[in-house]
Subunit: 129 residues, 2 copies
């Protein structure tokens, strides 16, 4: 099975979904190496477009994502990774899901979730990962 990495400069978007609650936790990008490491280790690795490097989700926080099921879509250009999310949340802003804000008509936004952990306690002054 060949995934369409070429469609997006070597990257493929991946939806991260909690296997139990079905909540969508985050979206990240994988390159071929990140996919290989994810499959080999059973923990989700991404390629950071901002930092231009491979990283394991949770390498700082301990909030790793353990793969339960790895799906791909009809065009083989997107992944859906169903995971057990270790810890109280995946978002570096202290929420369970990175999708904690609603976009309202007119372009305003509002927060729809409660923080589940203290960012300072988990990340300190380190770069949030």
């Amino acid at each position: 099975m060949e995934l369409a990495f070429a469609k997006l400069d070597g990257l493929i978007p991946a939806v991260i979904q909690d296997h139990t609650s079905c909540e969508v936790l985050m979206l990240g990008f994988l390159n071929a190496e990140a996919l290989e490491r994810t499959q080999r280790t059973g923990e989700v690795h991404f390629y950071s477009r901002t930092r231009k490097r491979l990283w394991k989700k949770g390498e700082s926080s301990g909030h790793v994502l353990r793969v339960r099921q790895l799906l791909f879509d009809c065009d083989a250009d997107a992944l859906l990774i169903r995971v057990d999310a270790v810890g109280p949340g995946v978002c570096h802003e202290g929420y369970r899901s990175c999708f904690f804000r609603e976009l309202e008509p007119g372009g305003t936004s509002r927060i729809i979730a409660e923080r589940t952990f203290s960012v300072e306690d988990v990340y300190g002054k380190k770069e949030a990962q």
Copy 2:
């Protein structure tokens, strides 16, 4: 609220999730115009990277996606659109979700879902949308 369209050549990836079942149905890309139309009409519009044009999901099949909630992530570079999905499925290959195949170790794949509609009946010989 400014979304980070610039990060990906004017596009932003959007996860489409069924509002009731919480199933992840597909992933598509929106540009600013697609987002404006999605918000104005209440039905999801995408920008097709392959066809290089705006399109409304369901414009051929009738399987439109009615917006229930529009969320964005911590970096404002991804959307999560929770929808009511009209019809038996969103995938142009006849499945409820585009994520109907599992990627197995070794690179093989297997289909994990049942078809929910006939592709020929819905799309005929038209371009699948």
